[in-house]
Symmetry: C2
Subunit: 331 residues, 2 copies
């Protein structure tokens, strides 16, 4: 058995806290510290902040530098922001400190098509540091990219790929219920959409990984988002939605090759949504139809980021994606 | 675009012929020759033997040495025998000739637990040659090992894994219908079983890959095979089965860790079987349920072996398994 990986949790929002708690429970991993900007958490005991039964005698740090003054680490689990301008300086700082990184930042999962310059800068910094960076998660990172690609291994020919993720948001956290627009008027929803502040992040990255891996040219990429409107009152622990108000969203990304439509990614998340499963259809030789149940976004994102650590630590230096690594499993 | 891989097909049975035909149709691959022991095929034009519309002006060779006297090659697609004593000398010969190998030999898919000495010999020969060997296929190679392992990436904890493959054998080739015992009496079936000449090959290999990858100790492995008996007459293009005769088999492998039952692999193949799908259940956090339709054994085995070539060619030298490679996809 190799030495345990010493892990620093960067970001203590709901996902980050649950991830740190999971790290603390795993063999071969040691939680050595955490970084968080929320002043209410900085200085508090990490064990208390992540709801462990006992204190860890490790204070939450306000910066990476401070955290590393307290403890040595091998790798960072990074759960902060979705978009490049926000997370890029953090990733570069982690690499400069000489640590591997697994991040749930959506735009990092496959940045080579949408953000080639920023990806190149992170790759160069990782190579300089001799460390490895991976962006992953359940979506993007698995359901709409790595998994359909893995299934194409069974195909002699692939003509079309369609992935649909349908989620009953009533089963999810309050912040997620708000993020999909629950309780907004349709007008407010459309307004937020127009400001680019609504919708699932990661569909361009999933499409990018699929097209690039299959050697296809992405000729056209189009996303539409529409609100799901409640037909009757819906109450959850977090929000009450009146009939006619928004209770979720339906987002569709269509990506075409020069030959025409090739990929459709559909994301539906709504309160009281009757379907809670993922379906993949790969039309080709043979045609494959796959249905998944149980891929809870929070639980699974925490799992895949932590499981990927074992492949990222010691991998070749650079910015890698899920397709580049040996099989990530719950090792 | 890199240079096309020059491929030699080793074995021209039904799967090998279909595989060679597929290679001839793929970009970035060139079919440069074939080896076959059947004297009826040796010397004949390869294009004719594999049913291409035109001759290839390449004679089928009776030995690897002869094939390589005609043409240079980079890699071999190997489709001959299931068991180590039969295929091992062939793989060693291919490595000595300095070629990469992708083989559908079931026992090669994960030989490290069941055949460590033989696996070690092949690994050493591959390292000496600076070449790479992979055993793969749809099962073993994907459905009951690589895929469930890939899905555990979404799990924080894994308590049990169950995979069931149910096949309507009426949709399959004649040799497959015979292989599962169609048309035998129950007594003849039991007799062949006792001689070890019946049943799906590869369940120990799939179990081995799962246990080894998840870091679990395989404490106990048990397989049972029972005949599926026809309730009424069944006719296919290849066989007629009377009521009371065998129309297929049901094979179950159970693999336990020291803590108790962990893995169950169930393989059901029978004529007119009403279900034609694969189901995976991973009990854990979260619990995942996955259903696959369309994973035709012949089409998919040809696809995955050919698709894997692109990852094997240029990989690190040695005997590798599907879990060691970057994502295999229909690139």
């Amino acid at each position: 058995m190799s030495d345990p990986i010493r892990v620093l949790q960067y970001g203590l929002g709901p996902i980050g806290r649950a991830m740190a708690r999971h790290v603390a429970s795993r063999e071969n991993l040691v939680l050595v510290g955490a970084v968080e900007i929320d002043p209410a958490k900085v200085g508090a005991d990490l064990g208390t902040v992540i709801d462990l039964p006992e204190p860890l005698e490790i204070p939450v740090s306000g910066s990476l530098e401070e955290a590393l003054a307290h403890a040595s680490a091998d790798a960072v689990l990074h759960t902060t922001q979705s978009y490049f301008p926000s997370f890029s300086p953090q990733i570069l700082e982690i690499l400069d400190a000489g640590l591997d990184v697994v991040s749930t930042s959506e735009e990092l999962s496959f940045p080579w098509l949408s953000h080639p310059a920023e990806a190149g800068a992170i790759h160069a910094a990782a190579v300089r540091a001799g460390k490895t960076v991976l962006g992953t998660g359940v979506n993007p990172g698995f359901l709409m990219d790595t998994l359909p690609l893995a299934l194409t291994a069974l195909c002699q020919r692939v003509d079309r790929i369609e992935v649909t993720r349908e989620m009953n948001a009533s089963l999810r956290r309050g912040p997620f219920q708000m993020k999909i627009g629950s309780g907004l008027t349709v007008e407010a929803f459309e307004e937020r959409m127009a400001q680019g502040r609504m919708g699932h992040v990661g569909l361009p990255e999933s499409a990018g990984m699929i097209f690039d891996t299959l050697g296809k040219t992405l000729a056209r990429f189009q996303t539409t988002v529409e609100p799901v409107v409640a037909g009757r009152e819906i109450r959850t622990d977090h929000v009450t939605v009146s009939p006619g108000q928004v209770c979720g969203l339906k987002q569709i990304a269509r990506a075409d090759s020069p030959d025409g439509p090739f990929l459709t990614l559909t994301f539906i998340a709504a309160l009281d949504h009757g379907t809670n499963e993922d379906t993949l259809r790969i039309t080709g030789v043979p045609t494959l139809e796959v249905t998944l149940r149980g891929t809870n976004g929070d639980l699974a994102t925490i799992a895949i980021a932590v499981n990927a650590l074992f492949r990222v630590h010691g991998a070749r230096p650079g910015l890698v994606t899920m397709r580049d690594l040996p099989l990530v499993a719950r090792i």
